[in-house]
Amino acid sequence: MSLLEQSVTWLAIGRAQDIPPLEGRSVQVGERRVAVFRLPDGWAAIDHVCPHAGGPLADGMVSDACVTCPLHAQRFSLITGERQDGAGPGVRVHAVRERDGVLELRVL
């Protein structure tokens, strides 16, 4: 485990089984609502609220490590949080991992 990971607390946010492949679900962590996604090769977490007009990103369609907002189809990278067409602000990316079936999140 890297020092960085040791240095902060990971919050248990739910059961891994509750998020189906290539889908997302949101969860409240303090001030912010975070969207967590199951990718073919692991997990990703970004802010849930779309910077364009507040669309629920956890409800978006996932492909190629990007999520498409359900409201106006803007795409955000689940790795960098950047908006794909570069035409506007992106979203914060957070750290998420699975431990014996439990999802753990670290807000960055």
Binding site: R15, D18, I19, P20, R25, S26, M61, T68, G86, A87
Partner: protein
């Protein structure tokens, strides 16, 4: 290099300097990257007006990639050419070798009484559009002061939002700068056709205000008045020259520049609407490209000279074809008038050369004529040239001819790009060359050039998966050949759906259709609406529309609906345009409980599927009824509901040709006539209005139902994904459809339909009892109300 002002001019200068070895800083006063002001009107039009981001000339990445330093919402307050230093409003100093003033202009607002009153707007930037749009929601009457290009565009936009609108113009004719009296005389009625009232020779003396201070109307010099609670002032522009003046540059109406676009100081240039060249300040984009090119050359030490531009204008008002270039009149001119079409085409000639053209109602050949004017080509026989122009195809244009005047792209450039990039569709060409990315009026020519390059071969097909350039046919081929049963299997087999994923719902539909609904359903390939069986709203809540076949309901259903509304405090209950009831504003977690308590099946209002079959009262009640529309409507809806379709399908059954159920404008419409039923297909009354084609007339309701189902299955099998029946039929033609649906194929179509129907889930709302995924209607930290087997029996 310091570029001051991020408008079309600032952008054009950056584009021109791109490639030259120089560091560019772009300072934009507005909070947006350079956007396409020409298309600002799009922020006022349509069911879902565009937002500024849709108008950006280049994405943020473009500037990043070129190391262009962009400052948004930054105002240059001082410019010291001697010390080569610019100072921003926040006091930051930006050094430069050369500065280009691209400060453009602001809307000219005359000093009228109450001109600052609430309700009075200009039409210049996105903020203005937002205000006008908001005002138009509630306004009773609108007035636009100014009958030029801009005023007419504003007036049409407001009128098209349903607000009675009047254009008030000082002169005796509209667009007097571009038009001669004859053309202007044709324009006024054309605008009134579109619901815009035109008042000429009215000098607005002041604005009237209501007691509450809000504008109430206009007062004219002749004593007359006009009520209006929304006023737009569009009488012209005032070049933004304060900065130039403050820094001691020579300023007239605009910043005075020479043929090299250099101002009175050798280190400062000016381009665009803020620049005055040989006494002319242009108010259109075409000259900007030419000026920017010269400015860039000047800066990089090449000698180039700007000799002025030919003003040209196309009116961007849907339904009025109008093009004007050069001077509107001279002692020698020829005009052709087409009596039956009312078209007016005129050429202005000065000492043997074409110096102006006006094309009204028929703008064919505009590009050819503009080229003749630009190149000052001599003409012997003007009438012959006019005739040639109306025949002119893109092929006849010289390579030098500027096809896109907004982005200054010549035919030669477009053709070269098509060849070099092997471009296959108009979108691609527009994306690559940016021709047609401006006001869009040149797109037809772009398409024509593409067609010529492709030797008449049609455009490249619409791709189901654009990323992998795979058509529906190609993917379907793989699915059949390899017996694929799911979207992930398709992705594995041919890559479709792997990249942007936008095509996944299309693939999901395709595989379900081919497998007769015996495919492997994957929810990640479905849009959220189809994961929770409700339509997502702008605030992330959902709407619930239960099935109400034929628009017929009962006291018992209405009671249950009422109870649900009370119990869950549903913010909005609405009778829809589809003859049923919509409960809006429902949180995801409440959907299962609400469905349970409604005890009604899904109306599929959220899906690309059969939506509604509207009916009228028909023979049961109506004194004119010729057929039992209610009974047949309910039967048809029961038969058609529950299946996914390429796009939504709406239907209606009406009891006589008075058409109270609007069957003529439905995807599938049945109309009772003496002795039988007419079947209409491909009708629409949404963003496109199209009367359906009469497919056939049959004797019995049973036969009518059979034809309807056969057509539905034909559409399911043959249309592109997201292609409504009206576009499908426009594309393939009604005869092809008749052949397929009425020919011997009919029986098989109906059989295949039956197979698909048998395997389709008639009511996805039953997933409340058996969720497809653990938290189908929940977030990680929320619990859905009432999921799981119903009290008592399972299904």
């Amino acid at each position: 290099m310091l570029v001051i002002g991020g408008g079309i001019a600032g952008q054009a200068v950056c584009e021109q300097l791109d490639g030259h070895a120089c560091a560019i800083t772009l300072v934009c006063g507005e909070p947006h990257l350079p956007y396409d002001r020409v298309n600002l009107g799009r922020l006022l039009k349509g069911a879902e007006p565009a937002n500024v981001e849709d108008l950006l000339l280049r994405p943020a990445t473009w500037y990043a990639d070129r190391g262009i330093e962009v400052h948004l919402e930054t105002w240059i307050e001082q410019l010291d050419p001697e010390r080569r230093l610019a100072t921003t409003h926040s006091g930051t100093e930006i050094p430069f070798d050369y500065a280009v003033l691209c400060t453009g202009s602001t809307a000219l607002v005359p000093p009228l009484a109450n001109v600052a009153a609430p309700g009075v707007h200009v039409f210049r930037d996105p903020g203005d559009c937002a205000e006008i749009l908001a005002a138009a929601q509630t306004a009773d009457r609108a007035a636009v002061i100014g009958g030029g290009l801009l005023g007419l565009e504003a007036a049409h936009a407001i009128a098209s939002r349903g607000v009675p609108t009047t254009v008030v113009h000082l002169m005796d004719r509209l667009m007097e700068r571009q038009l001669d009296p004859d053309a202007a005389a044709l324009l006024a009625p054309a605008m009134e056709e579109l619901g815009v009232e035109v008042l000429l020779e009215r000098r607005t003396q002041g604005l009237l205000v209501n007691p509450d201070g809000h504008v109430g109307g206009l007062a004219f010099a002749d004593g007359g008045r006009l009520d209006a609670d929304l006023v737009v002032v569009a009488i012209g522009i005032r070049p933004h020259v304060d900065l130039a003046r403050a820094s001691g540059l020579a300023v007239n109406r605009g910043v005075v520049v020479d043929d090299r676009l250099i101002s009175s100081h050798p280190r400062v240039l000016a381009v665009g609407e803020c620049a005055e060249h040989r006494g002319v300040v242009h108010g259109i984009v075409a000259p900007i490209r030419e000026q920017a090119a010269v400015a860039a050359a000047t800066i990089s030490g090449h000698s180039a000279a700007y000799a002025g531009s030919i003003p040209s204008a196309k009116l961007k008002v849907m339904g009025v074809e109008l093009f004007a270039a050069g001077e509107p009149d001279a002692d020698h001119a020829v005009a052709l008038r087409n009596a039956e079409t009312g078209a007016y085409r005129k050429l202005v000639i000065r000492d043997g050369r074409v110096t102006g053209a006006i094309l009204m109602g028929d703008t064919r050949g505009a590009d050819l004529l503009l080229d003749r004017i630009r190149t000052r080509a001599p003409v012997e026989d003007p009438l012959a040239l006019l005739a040639e122009a109306s025949q002119a195809s893109a092929e006849d244009l010289p390579d030098s001819a500027q096809v896109c005047n907004c982005n200054g792209v010549c035919k030669g450039t477009i053709v070269a790009a098509i060849r070099a990039g092997g471009l296959g569709s108009t979108q691609e060409v527009v994306a690559v060359t940016r021709a047609g990315a401006g006001c869009g009026s040149c797109k037809p020519v772009v398409s024509e050039l593409l067609a010529i390059e492709r030797g008449g071969a049609g455009e490249e097909p619409a791709y189901l998966c654009p990323c992998r350039k795979l058509t529906r046919e190609q993917v379907a081929g793989r699915v059949r050949a390899d017996g694929l049963e799911s979207v992930s299997e398709i992705a594995q087999a041919c890559g479709a759906g792997r990249d942007c994923g936008a095509c996944k719902p299309g693939l999901a539909y395709l595989v379900s259709e081919i497998c007769g609904n015996r495919h492997r359903e994957e929810r990640h390939a479905r849009f959220i609406n189809d994961r929770v069986h409700a339509n997502i709203q702008n605030d992330g809540t959902f709407s619930v529309v239960p099935r109400m076949r034929g628009g017929v309901t009962s006291a018992d259903e209405l009671r249950r609906i009422a109870d649900v509304v009370d119990k869950y405090e549903i913010p909005m209950v609405k009778v829809t345009g589809g003859q049923r009831i919509d409960l809006l504003g429902v949180p995801k977690e409440q959907l299962p409980a609400i469905w349970e308590e409604l005890g009604m099946p899904s109306g599929h209002a959220y899906a690309k599927a059969v939506r509604t079959v509207k009916t009228c009262v028909g023979t049961d009640f109506c004194r004119f009824g010729l057929g039992n529309s209610i009974a047949l409507g309910i039967e048809l809806e029961t038969a058609m509901e529950g299946l996914y379709t390429p796009h939504k399908v709406k239907s209606a059954v009406t009891g006589c040709p008075r058409n109270c159920a609007e069957a003529y404008v439905k995807d599938i419409g049945l109309v009772a006539v003496e002795g039988g039923w007419e079947i209409y297909v491909g009708g629409a009354a949404g963003s496109t209005v199209r009367k359906g084609d009469r497919l056939t007339t049959v004797a019995s309701p049973e036969a009518a139902k059979r034809v309807a189902l056969a057509f539905l299955q034909h559409y399911r099998e043959s249309a592109e994904y997201l292609e409504r029946t009206y576009t499908y039929i426009e594309r393939v033609g009604i005869d092809a459809v008749r052949a397929a649906v009425l020919g011997e194929g009919q029986a098989e179509l109906i059989e295949r339909y039956g197979i698909a129907k048998a395997a389709a889930d008639p009511d996805p709302w039953r997933e409340r009892h058996h969720p497809a995924t653990p938290k189908q209607f929940e977030e990680l930290d929320t619990e859905a109300m009432l999921v799981g087997p119903p009290a008592g029996a399972a299904r």
